[in-house]
């Protein structure tokens, strides 16, 4: 039996980690789908109809799985974190309700038209549906991140007593909801979603291009996959550098507003100046491996690097160590490594983008098999980076569910039994693993089936004419 607190935390972590994949796919695909639909309507070219229809199928499956897994998250605030919901409901419930009314309704209703209605509605309404679906996915992130950013940097509230319970009372909605953390989170998240889909597209396109040109298997619709690869690369060239730039600024914001999380990200135990930026760090004794308080660390680092990054250019800047924060600490090793791997991936994506862009420019994008392999291997890495980013954000703020206001352990439903928590955790482990397998299976099937045949499609064309006007006219 797992105790209710641990069980609830694991369950929320598990359901969030799985759920986030599907909104990342739909948020990241949204701008592509809007563009493909626009070009399909304006030019009538077969390639755009194929792109629109193929990626709409992937979007639709992601949306359905995202809906059913997201519903669980909304309910979990009530089932497993009832104390949190009672305490913070005044501030936290509003954004959730508005997400449903403003974003989810827009997305779900117009998705019906977007997926099923091409033959039923005119071009204008069809285009409006594409934009509405995309807008809905992004607005959804707005409200969720408004709620989440308030938990990271709470503002605009007072503590009050109601029905014998301490609750967080909203006093200044502008301070609460136009929260200082929100813009950082939103830009970083949305750019990450587009970057993840760009990597997915580039990797997928590279796979078929590789099969066709390097291995010499005849691939149907090879022009479609070349175009997909190019769209992925263009989006990656835009998003990858941005992600690292505002990621750096975001980390400085964390340093200023959540010093405990920053200390965990950098594994800084004792307050110090001239703190090195560790590339690698290990506790020096085995006993310290699982001890978040471990102080004896062997590391390879850049002297003054962490201070320099945190303070925007001063290697002498002081960083407050974890010892300054009484009580439980976040699991430092998880936060430290998740942060490092995420940052490393961010730089790898820039390298990929530049490499691919260079090969495209020199005209041998379709021949560089090493690049193809690198892109193929990187297909899921954007989503991995998003997962790691959320682990830094959510694990890094532990033990707090609302920073400096409410501990996670105090937010769990008071009446929850170990048996209930264990049963649902086990159930979700099975169901969510099954969902992941099923989703992967369906996506692979859609990919293997390839784009639909449309009039004038490229499959009749000779594969020896790889250049396409389609991917290069933007």
């Amino acid at each position: 039996m797992i105790d209710p607190v641990t069980g609830s935390r694991l369950q929320f972590a598990l359901t969030t980690i799985v759920h986030i994949i599907f909104p990342v796919m739909s948020m990241g695909l949204a701008p592509f789908l809007i563009y493909f639909t626009w070009k399909d309507i304006r030019t009538g070219k077969a390639i755009y109809e194929q792109l629109r229809r193929f990626w709409t199928r992937i979007f639709a499956v992601s949306f359905v799985v995202g809906t059913v897994t997201g519903l669980v998250l909304e309910f979990e605030f009530g089932t497993n974190f009832a104390a949190f919901s009672t305490t913070a409901g005044e501030l936290f419930g509003g954004p959730l309700a508005l997400e449903g009314m403003m974003a989810f309704m827009l997305e779900a209703t117009f998705l019906g038209i977007f997926v099923f209605g091409r033959e039923r509605v005119g071009n204008v309404l069809y285009m409006i549906s594409a934009v509405a679906v995309g807008l809905g996915t992004w607005l959804s992130a707005v409200w969720i991140l408004i709620a989440n950013s308030w938990m990271q940097t709470p503002r605009g509230y007072e503590l009050a007593t109601e029905n014998g319970q301490t609750i967080v009372q909203l006093v200044d909605p502008v301070a609460a909801y136009a929260n200082p953390r929100f813009p950082w989170m939103f830009v970083h998240m949305q750019n990450a979603a587009v970057e993840s889909v760009a990597l997915f597209m580039a990797g997928l396109g590279a796979y078929f291009v590789f099969r066709h040109y390097v291995w010499g298997y005849p691939v149907e619709n090879v022009r479609f996959w070349e175009t997909t690869l190019k769209f992925g690369l263009v989006a990656l060239l835009i998003t990858a550098p941005l992600q690292v730039i505002h990621g750096d600024l975001y980390a400085q914001h964390v340093f200023q507003t959540q010093p405990q999380k920053f200390a965990a990200m950098e594994a800084v135990w004792e307050t110090d100046s001239y703190v090195p930026e560790y590339i690698v760090a290990f506790p020096t004794s085995l006993e310290d491996l699982l001890n978040p308080r471990a102080k004896n660390i062997f590391g390879i680092g850049i002297p003054g690097g962490a201070s320099w990054l945190a303070s925007h250019g001063d290697p002498q800047a002081t960083i407050r160590g974890l010892e300054e924060f009484p009580g439980p600490q976040p699991p430092v090793a998880i936060v430290f490594w998740a942060f490092r791997i995420m940052v490393a991936l961010g730089f790898w994506f820039i390298l990929l983008a530049v490499w691919g862009g260079y090969r495209w420019w020199t005209g041998d994008l379709l021949e560089d098999d090493l690049l193809h392999k690198a892109l193929m291997a990187s297909t899921p890495l954007g989503i991995l980076a998003v997962e790691l980013g959320w682990i830094v954000t959510e694990v890094g703020r532990q033990p707090w569910v609302i920073q400096d206001v409410l501990r996670t352990s105090d937010g769990v439903s008071p009446g929850l039994t170990a048996a209930e928590a264990t049963a649902t955790l086990a159930g979700f482990a099975v169901v969510y693993l099954g969902l992941l397998v099923l989703y992967t299976y369906v996506i692979v099937r859609i990919i293997r089936a390839g784009p639909p045949d449309v009039d004038g499609a490229s499959r009749q064309e000779s594969p020896e004419t790889p250049t396409s006007e389609a991917g290069t006219d933007d």
């Binding site: 909304e74 009530g78 089932t79 998705l111």
Partner: protein, 336 residues
């Protein structure tokens, strides 16, 4: 940004002196009703799916709800969100008290949501047989558990499995079938449309019987609710249920599909109205919370009210656009 301050009156008193706590009580139940009506016909279609073994007819059933069900299910998300925003303590109490039941609802909705999407992904017999079964099971269990949840909420039950919970669960399943038949008779034609008539009558009979049982139980077994049962609104809604049932039966017989569909909608809202009427002024009997004690404070309540007043009419516009884009019977071979 932070120099901006809200007008002081927003924090001081409810907008225009409106009885906002009561309005939100009504709104939460109205949204629940929208969910039960709209997703109700999706559930009903799932139940009727079990009774049809012709592959073409099954495709027609799925095509009928295809463009709609995502939007319909969002009403449940909005129900959860508005309950959380307006009555956070109730949201927390109910969902944690009926912990395993909530997860049963979620499990049913996961299965029901995935099944039609998966069914269309492959066209071999074994795959479609299993996802067809999943669709039926999800469509039957989701309204059943939702009915149990509603009964437990109303009666303030402290355990999950109660006799009235089971009876109301079955009643809600029957009601979704009534709803599903009415919807499909608008959306299909030919033999399928004609065949559904009998299913509709049977489900309606079952629903009325189960509702009589439930009201009898409330009268005999729950003295605290007896006076509410004879209050004007509740009595009127019970009477309205009978009238709507007659309208449904007659309209179905005379092939007036939209009238029958309207009557089915009326039956759903009458049921939700009866529950709300019996419950008021309490909102969480077992937790000892009334509408007045559970409502959030004035500032967030005013803000939510402004938000809902702007957004809900917009939502009706979206639904109007969607349902008019796909109005009338489905055409053969519609898909993406």
């Amino acid at each position: 940004m932070t120099e901006l301050t809200m007008p002081a009156t927003l924090a001081a008193e409810p907008l225009f002196g409106l009885p906002l706590s009561d309005l939100w009580f009504g709104l939460v139940f109205f949204i629940f009703g929208m969910f039960l009506f709209l997703d109700g016909f999706d559930f009903g279609v799932g139940a009727l799916f079990a009774l049809r073994d012709d592959a073409d007819e099954r495709e027609q059933l799925l095509s009928a709800i295809g463009p709609f069900w995502d939007g319909n299910e969002v009403w449940l998300v909005v129900f959860g969100g508005t309950l959380f925003a307006a009555f956070p303590a109730v949201y927390a109490n109910l969902f944690s008290r009926y912990y395993l039941l909530m997860f049963a609802i979620l499990g049913a909705l996961i299965v029901r949501g995935l099944a039609p999407e998966m069914y269309e992904q492959r066209h071999d017999e074994a795959w479609q047989r299993w996802w067809g079964r999943a669709f039926v099971v999800g469509s039957l269990t989701a309204p059943f558990f939702l009915g149990m949840f509603t009964a437990n909420w109303l009666l303030g039950a402290t355990t999950i499995v109660t006799l009235p919970g089971v009876v109301v669960g079955l009643a809600v399943v029957a009601l979704t079938v009534v709803d599903g038949v009415a919807f499909l008779r608008v959306k299909t034609r030919g033999d399928l449309r004609a065949d559904l008539q009998t299913d509709g009558y049977r489900a309606l009979g079952a629903y009325l019987g189960l509702i009589v049982l439930t009201l009898g139980y409330v009268y005999a077994g729950v003295p605290a609710l007896r006076s509410s049962l004879f209050s004007v609104p509740v009595a009127a809604l019970v009477l309205a249920t009978l009238v709507l049932a007659v309208v449904y039966a007659v309209a179905t017989k005379e092939d007036r599909y939209y009238v029958a569909f309207g009557a089915a909608a009326g039956l759903v809202f009458a049921l939700v109205g009866i529950v709300a009427g019996l419950m008021y002024p309490a909102i969480d009997r077992a937790g000892g919370l009334t509408v007045e004690t559970a409502i959030v404070s004035t500032l967030p309540l005013n803000l939510m009210s402004i938000g809902a007043a702007i957004l809900l009419p917009l939502v009706f516009v979206y639904f109007g656009v969607l349902y008019s884009a796909f109005s009338g019977p489905i055409e053969a071979g519609e898909s993406y």
